[in-house]
């Protein structure tokens, strides 16, 4: 195991893509233990790691994001929020959070959302006098709302892995999303008054009306999705495909900004960004299979259980454990490995699977922004053109705000469980 860990770290620092580092480590481990019969089954294991219906939402929500960017939907959502809150001190920073909340009602993935917003929000914040790294940090942090406010890819993956109701997970994510957004808003307010940020003129009613009218077709996307899911026209996974179709129609016919010639590059981008995630999932599956074959997670889990009998302390240990895991591993990959191990444990502690799911999904989502392994950090730093090290410096206040929110959500289960119960 130690040798495998060393291989893992060396390859990581030699800039080998993370997905492949996981695969290579697994093969190296199998060879080191001399259990060669297992290598023969490796290709099939790679394959079946992806044969998962819930995973279909990954590429389709990415595609929906690209279509909305090209079709002028994203800019209109931002413009509309700007007319509403642009006149506050730090208005555009709030706009960033609010626009991300709106987007979150459509998008299911933080990485897709951070990619989308870094291109649009960061330049416009810089134009208004904010520093580039603060813009990028605000965008990356607000992008975390993507998978917490439904729909949500990571919630779907948790539901698939744990058997917890996906619809309860979705509804359970709403209030925690609001808590997180409020935490960011408080942080921005504090930073703004400390650093004496500029303000904008309040938008006249006429402008608000104009902007609202132009945003109506853009709002069709979330409205159709929410109405469609609630009325039983389609499933949460299928909603990703419907989102693409609606975004296509709105971009083509309402805003007329989307052109046929954009489609090939949208689809190619979708393929590559999808693969960076799904390849990671396939390789993580291989890695996780090696771990479960050796019963490593079972041992870690039973060790964790031996530490305490109190569910509250257990949740704290899990959170700390996952924050450490999230520093080094992709969240979705970690989820797939860990959920089957945690499920029997939480039953022993009497912890609700939906509450537990929301907590660990938020925890692992925060991991997207913790160095050294954080896909969200890389995306924001490359798309907003900010050096990784400076971005990390400006993002830590947001990380602290996120941790505090996570603790509140962990120790106040009703924040998650109340909405699903009253909607039943």
């Amino acid at each position: 195991m130690t040798a495998a860990l060393i291989v893992f770290i060396i390859l990581l620092f030699l800039q080998v893509p993370i997905a492949f580092v996981l695969g290579i480590t697994t093969i190296a481990y199998i060879i080191l233990t001399g259990n060669m019969g297992l290598t023969a089954t490796a290709p099939q294991r790679l394959y079946s790691g992806l044969e998962n219906y819930g995973m279909l939402a990954v590429p389709l929500f990415m595609m929906a994001g690209e279509l909305m960017n090209f079709g002028g939907i994203t800019t209109r959502l931002i413009d509309f929020s700007k007319t509403l809150v642009g006149h506050f001190r730090g208005g555009l920073a709030y706009v960033n959070v609010i626009a991300n909340m709106l987007l979150s009602a459509i998008m299911g993935s933080a990485t897709a959302q951070i990619a989308m917003m870094s291109r649009t929000m960061v330049p416009s914040m810089e134009k208004e006098g904010y520093s580039r790294e603060f813009g990028a940090a605000t965008t990356a942090a607000s992008g975390l709302l993507g998978p917490i406010i439904p729909p949500s890819m990571i919630f779907i993956i948790y539901g698939v892995a744990s058997g917890a109701s996906i619809s309860d997970m979705f509804i359970g994510g709403v209030l925690p999303g609001v808590v997180l957004a409020l935490a960011f808003i408080v942080l921005i307010g504090y930073t703004g008054s400390k650093e004496k940020w500029p303000t904008q003129e309040r938008a006249p009613i006429s402008l608000i009306t104009k902007s609202f009218i132009s945003v109506i077709p853009a709002l069709l996307v979330p409205v159709i999705i929410i109405a469609g899911i609630l009325s039983g026209v389609f499933t949460a996974t299928e909603s990703a495909a419907v989102a693409c179709v609606v975004a296509l129609l709105v971009g083509f016919f309402f805003y007329k900004e989307l052109k046929i010639k954009h489609l090939p590059s949208i689809l190619v981008n979708t393929a590559v960004t999808t693969a960076t995630i799904t390849m990671l999932i396939a390789m993580a599956n291989l890695f996780g299979w090696m771990l479960s074959f050796e019963q490593v997670p079972q041992n870690i889990a039973s060790w964790m259980v031996s530490l305490t009998e109190s569910p509250l302390v257990f949740l704290l240990i899990v959170n700390i454990f996952l924050l450490i895991v999230g520093m080094f591993m992709d969240g979705i990959a970690a989820l797939i490995i860990l959920v089957p191990i945690f499920m029997p444990l939480i039953a022993n502690y009497g912890i609700d699977p939906v509450h537990f799911g929301v907590v660990i999904c938020i925890n692992l989502t925060i991991g997207l922004l913790t160095p050294p392994v954080g896909a969200g950090l890389y995306i924001a730093s490359s798309l907003a053109d900010v050096k990784l090290e400076t971005l990390i410096k400006s993002i830590w206040p947001f990380l602290i705000a996120s941790f505090i929110s996570l603790l509140i959500i962990t120790y106040w289960p009703d924040l998650v469980l109340w909405l699903p119960t009253i909607l039943k």
Binding site: G34, G54, L230
Partner: protein
């Protein structure tokens, strides 16, 4: 595997087998696997025991089969749904309205045709040991009960994606869809689907009755698991140990079948208590024409299925 699991003790060599299956630990198949472990340990004076990997921990069923072929997994409980995509004769278990209840279905595991099915598995490097059962399948609908195929017309029903099951369902006039299990609860809630084809154990544990409350006891099909051993591993055992393995599995499955029957009864009572509206399919003869079409087709394709159906009629 042999390299990882053998070690010396003062009583001689002990051997730990890896068993994998797709269900949760509460499921009767897991309990049967546990029972098998106990029997094995008792019969071998502690020389042989098992490690169980539930809930697809070592991969999906296609991975399990591959690991069995290469001998890195020793035993597998594989659903008949999956195995029938690899071996046609197993569709025998999915012939509609063949068994009036679970007892009848379970009794057929000792039939000559069932033994033939297990033998055929050897072409895949698998030693077929036995069949165990989860429960017969019934129909849960959001609206109404089922007394004839007309009651199913136009209803969107979630089924297990397997050609024989699908064929039966298409002929009823319903719209069958092989939606993945994790989507079912929500889809039933929002009305994406109108009902499901399900056994009582799954109905009780997955709480689908929260979203649809009309249960018709149709017994239209059964749903076994095929218990297999890696041929490679089996061949590496002494004749004496081979005998112990077979005896232990047979004892465990005998117990498991009784347990499944008892659980079906218990689940039914519990579901009634919760308020699920239960009705029995009074006259299955309205399904006769459909049933005949399916069984004729499959018995003309496979001698094993034909003789299985004949034995079932006795």
């Amino acid at each position: 595997g042999e390299d990882t699991a053998s070690n010396e003790t003062d009583g001689g060599e002990t051997r730990t087998f890896k068993i994998s299956h797709v269900t949760q630990e509460s499921h009767v198949w897991h309990q049967t696997a546990l029972k098998f472990g106990e029997e094995l340990e008792a019969l071998s004076d502690g020389r042989m025991n098992v490690d169980i990997y539930p809930a697809s921990q070592l991969g999906q069923e296609k991975d399990m089969v591959q690991q069995l072929e290469t001998g890195s997994l020793d035993f597998g409980f594989l659903t008949n749904g999956y195995m029938s995509t690899r071996q046609d004769s197993l569709n025998a278990w999915f012939m509609p309205f063949t068994f009036k209840n679970l007892e009848e279905a379970a009794a057929l595991r000792k039939s000559a045709a069932a033994k033939q099915m297990l033998e055929e598995l050897s072409s895949q490097g698998l030693l077929g040991l036995d069949f165990a059962f989860a429960g017969n399948r019934h129909i849960l609908l959001k609206d109404g009960h089922v007394q004839s195929p007309d009651d199913l017309k136009g209803k969107k029903v979630r089924i297990i994606g397997s050609p024989a099951i699908q064929e039966f369902w298409e002929k009823t006039g319903a719209g069958p869809t092989a939606m993945p299990l994790p989507e079912v609860y929500t889809s039933l809630q929002t009305g994406v689907i109108d009902g499901i084809d399900i056994d009582l154990d799954a109905l009780a544990t997955e709480k689908y009755y929260e979203n649809a409350e009309n249960l018709t006891l149709t017994n239209h099909m059964t749903f076994p698991t095929v218990i297999v051993m890696s041929q490679q591993v089996y061949d590496s055992l002494s004749p004496e140990d081979q005998k112990i393995v077979k005896e232990a599995i047979s004892k465990a499955v005998d117990w498991g079948v009784e347990e499944a029957i008892a659980r079906e009864q218990k689940n039914l009572e519990e579901l009634k208590k919760i308020g699920v509206k239960v009705e029995e399919l009074k006259d299955p003869s309205s399904f006769e024409a459909i049933t005949k079409e399916v069984t004729d087709k499959y018995s003309s394709q496979s001698e094993v299925i034909k003789s299985f159906l004949e034995e079932a009629k006795k």
